[in-house]
């Protein structure tokens, strides 16, 4: 027993002056971290707890299950994520390659290319919304001038409207992901590419055997992160279509607001709880990657 107690007393004695020093440091550490802890308790824990409490009734879920708009929104969200994100990331990967080319005009283009990401979404989405106006919008005016026929009523067709919301989303967030993939692409040593050309690799093979192996981890991380964020993309859908026509283009991010407007907060919360199986695996995966 004494052999267990001994190392304790031994360890304490030489560091005796340290506890006071340490505790001053710890005290300041606590003081400095407190503002964030308060924010976290008041504006993250409390709302989540409150939300879960509001969503506690089983009949909210029954109502949700019977609401055709809910099923439609889940489908729309999945289409948005699976089609939209993959399309966007593939384009971003291609553009990252494009922007590595050394040309003066490509450098200028890259400066301009950031704009959609840098400007607020509301003016640009409204601009696009008006471009798509069936009567006065510039797109249908051009179609009419070229073909002498009326263009489609873009935002009145649910499929077309959702596809356009995806287009808006891609327009807005493509620069960000291209930039990130570009920084990954630029960190690949040029020696590898030179070695590959010596071996006669061109185009596709260079990508297949040099670029992709070095980028695939980054690419997958980006895709997952983008999926999580896109789940919360309210603007692209709400500002373009407002969920219409006939509430057929809602996604989970806008559905909560729809129920809030209908004064059905329990439904809003229940719909978010139903989205958790979609979110949690992604979050778990990202946490494992980033907290390493």
């Amino acid at each position: 027993m004494s052999t267990i107690a001994l190392p304790d007393t031994d360890a304490v004695r030489p560091t005796k002056p340290a506890p006071r020093r340490l505790s001053a440091t710890q005290a300041w550490g606590l003081i400095l971290i407190t503002p964030y802890i308060l924010i976290f308790l008041l504006f993250v824990i409390y709302p989540i707890g409150y939300g879960l409490w509001l969503a506690r009734h089983p009949y909210s879920y029954e109502k949700l299950y019977e609401d055709p708009i809910f099923a439609r929104s889940v489908m729309n969200t999945l289409v948005f994520l699976i089609v939209g994100i993959n399309l966007k990331m593939m384009i971003a990967l291609g553009l990252a390659e494009f922007f590595t080319r050394q040309r003066v005009w490509i450098r200028w283009l890259s400066v301009l290319f950031i704009l959609p990401w840098a400007v607020p979404s509301i003016p640009t989405i409204l601009s696009m919304r008006f471009m798509l106006n069936p009567e006065w919008g510039i797109i249908n005016t051009i179609i009419f001038n070229l073909t002498a026929e009326d263009g489609p009523n873009w935002l009145n067709d649910p499929t077309l409207a959702l596809s356009l919301a995806i287009v808006v989303h891609i327009w807005k967030s493509l620069p960000f992901w291209t930039l990130i993939l570009l920084s990954g692409r630029l960190s690949i040593s040029t020696d590898l590419y030179e070695a590959a050309s010596v071996d006669g690799a061109t185009g596709w093979n260079r990508f297949r055997y040099v670029t992709w192996p070095s980028m695939q981890t980054l690419y997958i991380t980006c895709t997952l992160l983008s999926m999580i964020w896109t789940l919360g993309d309210f603007n692209s859908v709400y500002l373009l279509t407002g969920g219409g026509p006939a509430d057929l283009t809602h996604v989970l991010a806008t559905l909560g607001i729809r129920y809030l407007r209908l004064d059905e907060v329990d439904m809003a919360m229940a719909s978010i709880v139903c989205a958790l199986p979609l979110v949690l695996p992604l979050v778990y995966f990202m946490m494992k990657r980033l907290s390493k």
Binding site: V119, T124, C222
Partner: protein, 283 residues
């Protein structure tokens, strides 16, 4: 002079084949905004690529608030600015302190706080919007600009703390040790050593929070409702519900609102790209 080889020409052509559509894709919605802003009301709808009589009349109407939709233009612009600056400053304060405590003072439980913050970062903001709205109601903050400021600080902080912690982990420990040997207190360490060394990352994070707040629509539209307290994006969104919306004025206001973030982005580009994108995804 040597003529370019056929292969070089075809490479250039291929690059242009990507470059030109990319240029049009990027610029079209923004150009459309600009086109409307400089067009007189009646010719805005003509579908020309350049107006017959470009005019600055729309800007004049917006700046002098000569339309009932724009009665509070300056007030709302000020609201946006005040709210964005408050959010930027508060986020910076909260996140820098927390990052210092976690990374340099090694406060107990710091790692847990960091992980909880990261977890918050991955909750889609739109999912937190409804509970946040109800919570602000409980706290009696609805319709107060503080509701929006606190909500946005909550949203911006996790990423801010994470980036600042990553950056401060890279500072050499010897600096702190030397300062402590010389008798520096933790606060002196914070003020005299930490803040000056962290300045570049802090600029990036401050700008990040500022732009996030300036561009925010969803939370602003949920948490604020009075004409005199809302931010300009909410006012623009309210244009939408009206049938007789003056589109050319809406576009002009939007263009004015887009200008500051674009300018800030280009001014701080150096910090932003290295500070944010490199930190955003650690491969």
């Amino acid at each position: 002079m040597k003529l370019p080889s056929r292969q070089a020409v075809s490479t250039e052509a291929k690059l242009l084949l990507i470059g030109i559509p990319l240029f049009l894709w990027t610029i079209l919605p923004i150009y459309h905004l600009f086109l409307f802003a400089i067009s007189p009301k009646d010719s805005a709808f003509a579908g020309h690529l350049w107006p017959d009589n470009p005019t600055l009349r729309n800007f004049e109407i917006v700046f002098t608030q000569k339309h009932y939709f724009l009665n509070h233009f300056w007030q709302q612009l000020w609201n946006s600015l005040f709210i964005a600056v408050s959010i930027g400053a508060l986020t910076l304060l909260v996140a820098t302190s927390a990052a210092f405590a976690i990374s340099r003072l090694k406060v107990k439980g710091g790692r847990t706080v960091m992980n909880l913050a990261l977890l918050t970062y991955f909750i889609p903001a739109a999912f937190l919007a409804v509970p946040m709205y109800k919570t602000m109601g409980t706290y009696g903050l609805l319709n107060s600009q503080w509701a929006l400021i606190l909500a946005m600080v909550t949203i911006a902080s996790p990423y801010a703390i994470w980036v600042l912690k990553q950056a401060s982990d890279k500072l050499p420990v010897e600096l702190d040790e030397a300062a402590v040997m010389d008798g520096a207190s933790p606060m002196q360490l914070f003020r005299l050593i930490y803040i000056p060394l962290m300045a570049p990352s802090m600029v990036a994070i401050g700008t990040y929070a500022l732009l996030l707040a300036w561009n925010e629509y969803l939370y602003a539209f949920l948490l604020l409702s009075k004409d005199t307290t809302i931010t300009l994006p909410v006012a623009l969104g309210n244009f939408l519900s009206a049938d007789d919306s003056p589109w050319e004025l809406l576009m002009t206001t939007g263009l004015i609102y887009s200008f500051p973030p674009a300018a800030i982005y280009y001014v701080f580009k150096r910090y932003m790209v290295s500070g944010l994108t490199a930190g955003a995804v650690k491969s």
